[in-house]
Symmetry: C2
C-alpha cells in the first residue's frame, strides 16, 4: 500500500477515535469535579497519535466483523495510556510533554496522581463493559505488568551491567504489554480464533518493542522541536537504553571506561550528552539499535501471514504499514 493511502485511512480512523474520546468526556464532565474535568481534557486531548486504539480497531476488523462499539472499547487503551503518562511524568519529574507543560507541572502532583487513578478505573470499567472476562484479564495483566516493568526500570537506572535481554524485558513491560493487549483484545472482540489471537499477540509484542526502541533512539537523535522533549533526557536521568547498552558491550577499554565515568556522575551525564552521542555513533550503537527495531518489525509483519484472505487484505496492509511507519517516525 502506498503510504498516502495508509495515512488517509489512519487519519480518518484516528479522527473517529478522537470523536469518541470527546463524546466520552462530554458524558463524564457533568458527573465529575470541575478540576478533574479540566485535567482530563488537558491531558487527553493533546494531539496524541492514538496508536493503541487504532490497533484495537484494525485488529478487530482483521479477525472478523466488528461494530461501531469497537471505538468505545478502543478508547479505553488511550485512557489507560494517559493514566500511565500522568504518573510517569511525576516519577520522571518531567516538565513538558508534546511541547506543553506536564500535568504535574501545570496542576500539581496531587491532581496528576488522582486523574491517573480516575482514568485507570474508567478504562477498566469500559473494558469490563465492552470486552469479555477474558479481555479484562488481558487488560489487567498488561496494566499490572506495566507497573511491574517500571519497577524494573527504577532498579535498572545507571546499572551499567544491563544486558540486551534485561532491556527487552523492561521495554516489554513499559510499552509492549499494552500495545500487545490492544491487538489481542481487538482480535478477541472481532471474534478471532486462537491462532489469530496468538498471531496478533506476536505482532503486538514486536511492534511494541520496535516502537520503544525507536522512542529511545529519538531521545538521542530526535529533533526536540518535533518530539517536544529535550535531547539526551534518558542519559541525563541514567536510563540505560539500547544504544548505550550496545556501546558499553562493544566499546574498547578506554572508551568503555570513559562512558562508565560519565554514567556514574549525575553532573557529567548532563554535561557530556554530545560526547556520549559521539561514542555511541563510533561503535554504531544507533545503527545496531535501529537494526533491532527493523528485525522486530519484520517478525511483526511475518506474524500477519496467517491472515491470507482477500477480504482482510486491506487491514493486514494497514498493520504492515503501521509497523513500517514506526521505523520512520520522527516524533
Amino acid at each position: 500500500m502506498e503510504f498516502e493511502k495508509l495515512f488517509t485511512t489512519i487519519r480518518i480512523e484516528a479522527e473517529k477515535i478522537e470523536n469518541q474520546m470527546r463524546r466520552d468526556l462530554t458524558e463524564l464532565l457533568p458527573t465529575i469535579d470541575d478540576l478533574l474535568a479540566e485535567v482530563l481534557e488537558y491531558g487527553l486531548l493533546n494531539g496524541g497519535k492514538r496508536i493503541r486504539p487504532l490497533l484495537v480497531v484494525i485488529a478487530s476488523r482483521l479477525c472478523g466483523d466488528s461494530d461501531d462499539k469497537i471505538y468505545r472499547l478502543a478508547c479505553a487503551f488511550e485512557y489507560l495510556h494517559g493514566a500511565t503518562l500522568f504518573h510517569d511524568d511525576i516519577i520522571d519529574n518531567s516538565d513538558s510533554r508534546r511541547g506543553n507543560p506536564t500535568i504535574n507541572r501545570k496542576f500539581g502532583i496531587a491532581p496528576a496522581i488522582l486523574a491517573g487513578d480516575f482514568l485507570h478505573a474508567y478504562a477498566m470499567s469500559v473494558v469490563g463493559r465492552f470486552s469479555g472476562k477474558e479481555g479484562l484479564k488481558v487488560f489487567c495483566a498488561a496494566t499490572a505488568g506495566m507497573a511491574d516493568g517500571e519497577f524494573m526500570q527504577l532498579r535498572n537506572s545507571v546499572n551499567t551491567n544491563l544486558s540486551e535481554l534485561d532491556y527487552h524485558d523492561a521495554i516489554m513491560g513499559k510499552t509492549g504489554l499494552l500495545i500487545s493487549a490492544a491487538c489481542v483484545i481487538g482480535a478477541m472482540y472481532g471474534g478471532g480464533n486462537r491462532e489469530q489471537i496468538l498471531a496478533m499477540q506476536l505482532y503486538g509484542d514486536n511492534l511494541g518493542c520496535a516502537f520503544q526502541i525507536i522512542d529511545d533512539l529519538l531521545d538521542y537523535q530526535g529533533d526536540s522541536a518535533k518530539t517536544g522533549k529535550e535531547v539526551g533526557n534518558d542519559l541525563m536521568e541514567g536510563k540505560m537504553t539500547l544504544p548505550l547498552i550496545i556501546t558499553l558491550k562493544n566499546a574498547a577499554d578506554p572508551d568503555r571506561k570513559r562512558l562508565l565515568e560519565i554514567l556514574a556522575d549525575t553532573g557529567k551525564r548532563k554535561e557530556c550528552v554530545d560526547e556520549v552521542c559521539q561514542l555511541i555513533e563510533n561503535y554504531k550503537g544507533f545503527n545496531l539499535a535501529r537494526a533491532r527495531a527493523v528485525e522486530a518489525v519484520t517478525i511483526a509483519c511475518n506474524a500477519l501471514q496467517i491472515f491470507d484472505g482477500n477480504s482482510t487484505l486491506f487491514e493486514r496492509e494497514l498493520l504492515e504499514g503501521l509497523a513500517h511507519y514506526v521505523l520512520t517516525r520522527d516524533k
Copy 2:
C-alpha cells in the same frame, strides 16, 4: 450480641482474610520485581483492620450462600484500599501510617505511585474474575468516584464556607463509596435480590459516613500512640472536617473571626491546635459531629431490618455490631 462474641467472630474472619492475602502475595511474588514485592508486603501486611473485606464476606452470607472463594473476592477491596492509601500518603505528604514510615517516606514517591497502580490493576482483575460484570461496574464506579472525591477535597482545602452537605459528599467519595461497594458486591455474590442489595448499599453508605466522621474526630481527639497519627493533622493541612464546619456555623462573631484568622494562616494552624480544639469544644462541635455519626449508624442498622430470617440472624447481628464498633473505636 455481646461484644466479646462479635470480636471473636470478627477476629477469626479477619485472620482468614489475612491468610488469603498472604496466599495471594505468595502467588504473586515469583512473578514480580523484588522491590515491588517488598513494597507490597510492607504496605499490605501492616495490621490493617480489614473492614472492607469483612463486609464483603458478611454481606454475602447475609444475602444467601457463599463459598470459600468469597475470601479471594473480599481481599480485592483491601488491595484497592491499600492502593488509595499509598497514593493518599504521597498527596498528603504523610510521614507515618499505623506508626510506621509511609511507603513514600521509606521507598520513595515512584515506588509508592507504581505499587498503588499495580494493586489497582490487581484488585480489578480479582473483581473481574470472581464477581460478575455488574460487580465490576460497581467496583470501578467506586474507584473512579474516590479519585473524583479527592479532587473535591483538594478544592475544599481551607474553604471556610463549606457546608455539612459538601462535607458529606466529600466523605462519601473518600470512604463511603468503597465501603458501600464492599457491601453491594458481597450481597451480589451471595445472590441477594434487588431489595437486599439496595439495603446493603444503604447500610454501607451510612457505615462509611460514620466511619469517616469518627476518623475525622480521632484526628482531633485521638491518642496518637494508638492512631499512629499526629493530633490536629487535618487542621494543620487545612482540611475542613465536620467538627470545624459545625463550629464555624455556630460560633459567635469574635470566635468565628478568630477561627478564620487561624485557618487562613499555615503557621497559625500549626501553632493553635489546642486553641482550635477548645473553640470546637465550646461550641459542642465534637459532640454534634459524633451525633451525626450515631445517626448514620442508626440508619445503617435500620436498613438491615429487611433481613428478618432466623437463619441469617447471626450475620445481621455481626453487621449491627460492626456499625456500633465504629462509634467506639479509638484507632
